[in-house]
Subunit: 459 residues, 2 copies
């Protein structure tokens, strides 16, 4: 028995409504009432169906998939945004996807395949019994323009008329990608310009295409990294990106794929800063450990550097043991100050906002900010510490170390990401650990060094 | 003397080429050769012109703006993506913008105004001498759908034909927003559906619109937060968002504005995690301090909590002072473990991937990951510590504390963001400080607590 979506389906609802339906559906499946469970789902937008499937435990999900038609599963994957579709597909597993796509029209199967990550798409495509058109698109590695592009796209000869371009668009009407540009090529297939679909809807059919041709702002090659495609999308506001080899148009990255590349870029930066790039809630424990362990190991090394810095001053600590309690104050405040600065810089770099001219001004700004913060918090901790320890001479040490460490935080927070980028290391991945190592180690050295120098006065 | 862009302008170039041209232009301006400087710029895409203006020191920028025509400045702002345009406009200053927009066609001025942040747009609009149509759009507060929407959009009666919808589109041809949907309303102006421009380009003019009408997936109200618009864009893949009040269509958020809202949302999360939300390289020192100080102050409070935890064990530290050196190891490793977990959760929440069903599974997963990491790093620090201190009994303390703190890191990293969201606090803003407070304070309590309990054995 198979089911297809209800006619009323597809309207947006709130995340809490999605959550409520998810719970309800899971109850129904537990009770064995699979048909009613599907009926509740069938009214939803495919994006919400996918989100619910994603959130379900495996056995409930499998039970639900049994009552959906293969066409519905393929349609759902194709309607979702590529990022979410690839996550749902990863959950479903390649074998389940193959089973589904072998039972649908090859064109539908291709559309669904295009939503998977290139690695999984290739795996699924190879295991299919039916032949799928254009599977050579999976020949391009993940993270390149080639893996994002559609091979079928609207095209017309620039010497033709609006009517010719409309025909080019009509040929693509079943591809289910929305194209808002028709590409104009010369007799040799070289890309010469583009026509907007808006213009095609407004101009009389006999209008020569040359009169409405617009220049193409940006093109990429099949090997261009997805990150660069994302930058072009964001910086120049392009809504599609033609892929060209030897001047000849070989593919077009549709808007949805371009936007997925942008979202992946943006959030990858955030995951990189947190040291969890590539991890996701769906991953197995083993792959989560693989992703996180290198970072945690590097961090362990840096904490031992900090430990070594402290151990240099063992004899000072024996004499004034309360100093140990203030260690996290110096290091913690420096660490957060440095992280604030580097987060801003990493984001600027990620958004491509950086142009060489202003690097020095930036460093000076952050050093000054660090100094101002250091003086302010130095005064504050001086007063708090004095109330706590009632030792005025001890309470000279903490403010001085605070000023020094906040300046170090500002300067390292600004210069480390810029330096890492210059030597070809992704600043998002490595900046945080380098900056906090600076602030920890120099913070401890400053604090305990000043304390040792003043030891005669302190004891 | 004024200048307009060269005919060949507008093709994408690499960021390093932009950087090179920026340096060259600045040299030319220093040498007083403003015309050649402008000539170099005039071949660029408006997005690159804006980026170069943004990177320049004030006096060079002002000199350059003097040789650009007001029409060019207005055109540049309008062609840039809204985020970047608002940043350039903030740099130029409201007075400069007013001066420019008073000299261009009201429609051009409106288009440029729409690219500014609502606050600045209102300020500029009020200071203009010429009357601008539709300035009531600036009545809506920043961060709402009302502030993002265009008041002029293509619309047709659903009882009409394709030809009527084409007329609706034609009326908007000078608005410079690209609309890829014509909205279909009934006789009372209630939104009934939409037609894609692709369909309007392909169907014969006499086709009744009802036959090509498609349902509208999502609508919002003028007060809907931009963050919710961003979620709808991302989750449902909508390319425009109709704004409705009392069922009547009052505006449409064009794609570029929707995408700017998404980018702002995504990167705001990252800035929030870093505690620098709202800061930017362009801000004055005072506003940077205003943005960062609250966070630094909260952090200072938590470091004193950690200091208090350590000071509880002063007598233990006096006896075994080397324990102080290992404090950053326990706290640092717990902190980074907790941050990894919370970064992943905050990103999931930001992308709207979260549905209640899986919260428990998630907690269990992160606790287990913490346990595994704790055992592994516990063994590692045990061995390293043993080689360092040659005190086997001391080196029982660090591994035990490590296991405990990594579990605390996993559990708090997963539960704190979920809990904060439930009580209505933005998890991106507050999670990191709460989680690192947990891992610092409990890490120190565990480590020094275990050490104190074992003190008889240690000394």
């Amino acid at each position: 028995m198979t089911n297809v979506p209800a006619a009323e389906s597809g309207v947006a609802i709130s995340p809490s409504e999605v959550g409520a339906i998810a719970s309800e559906v899971q109850q129904l499946i537990k009770a064995g009432d699979h048909d009613t469970a599907w009926e509740r789902l069938s009214f939803l937008h495919p994006a919400d169906m996918g989100a619910i499937l994603l959130a379900m435990p495996r056995h409930s999900r499998d039970a639900l998939l049994q009552v959906m038609s293969p066409d519905t599963v393929a349609w759902m994957l194709h309607q979702m945004n590529p990022l979410q579709a690839s996550r749902v597909a990863a959950r479903l597993g390649s074998r389940m996807i193959s089973g589904v796509l072998d039972q649908v029209h090859p064109r539908v199967a291709l559309n669904a395949l295009m939503r998977l990550r290139p690695n999984q798409a290739r795996e699924v495509a190879e295991s299919l019994e039916q032949a799928i058109p254009d599977t050579d698109i999976f020949a391009h590695p993940a993270g390149t323009a080639g893996a994002l592009m559609a091979r079928a796209f609207p095209v017309a000869n620039i010497n033709g008329t609006v009517s010719d371009a409309q025909n080019g668009l009509r040929d693509l009407a079943d591809s289910h990608y929305e194209f808002n540009r028709v590409y104009l090529v010369d007799d040799q297939g070289q890309l010469e310009g583009q026509a907007t679909v808006v213009n095609l809807a407004l101009q009389p059919p006999q209008t020569p295409l040359r009169t409405i041709a617009e220049p193409v702002v940006a093109t990429v090659g099949v090997d261009t990294p997805a990150a660069e495609c994302a930058r072009l999308r964001r910086h120049y506001g392009v809504v599609q990106l033609p892929v060209v080899s030897d001047g000849e148009l070989t593919g077009v990255i549709p808007l949805e794929f371009l936007l997925s590349a942008v979202v992946e870029e943006d959030t990858r930066q955030m995951l990189n800063v947190g040291g969890v790039a590539g991890d996701s809630r769906e991953h197995t424990l083993v792959s989560a450990i693989k992703t996180r362990l290198p970072w945690l190991t590097v961090n362990l090394g840096t904490t031992f550097l900090a430990a070594a810095a402290i151990s240099l001053f063992e004899s000072t600590l024996v004499q004034v043991v309360i100093l140990a309690a203030f260690l996290p104050v110096v290091a913690g405040q420096g660490g957060i100050g440095g992280t604030q600065t580097l987060t801003m810089i990493v984001r600027s770099l990620a958004l491509g906002e950086f142009i060489g001219v202003s690097a020095f001004r930036l460093l000076a700004r952050e050093a000054l900010l660090g100094l101002l913060h250091g003086v302010w918090f130095g005064l504050l901790v001086g007063v708090i510490g004095l109330l706590w320890t009632r030792n005025p001479r001890l309470e000279m040490v903490l403010p001085l170390a605070m000023v020094g460490n906040m300046v170090i935080a500002g300067v390292s927070g600004a210069s480390v990401p810029l330096f890492l980028r210059r030597i070809g290391v992704d600043p998002a991945v490595a900046s945080a650990v380098v900056v906090t190592t600076f602030t920890d180690v120099f913070g401890f050295l400053l604090f305990l060094g000043i304390a040792t120098a003043m030891l005669g006065l302190l004891t």
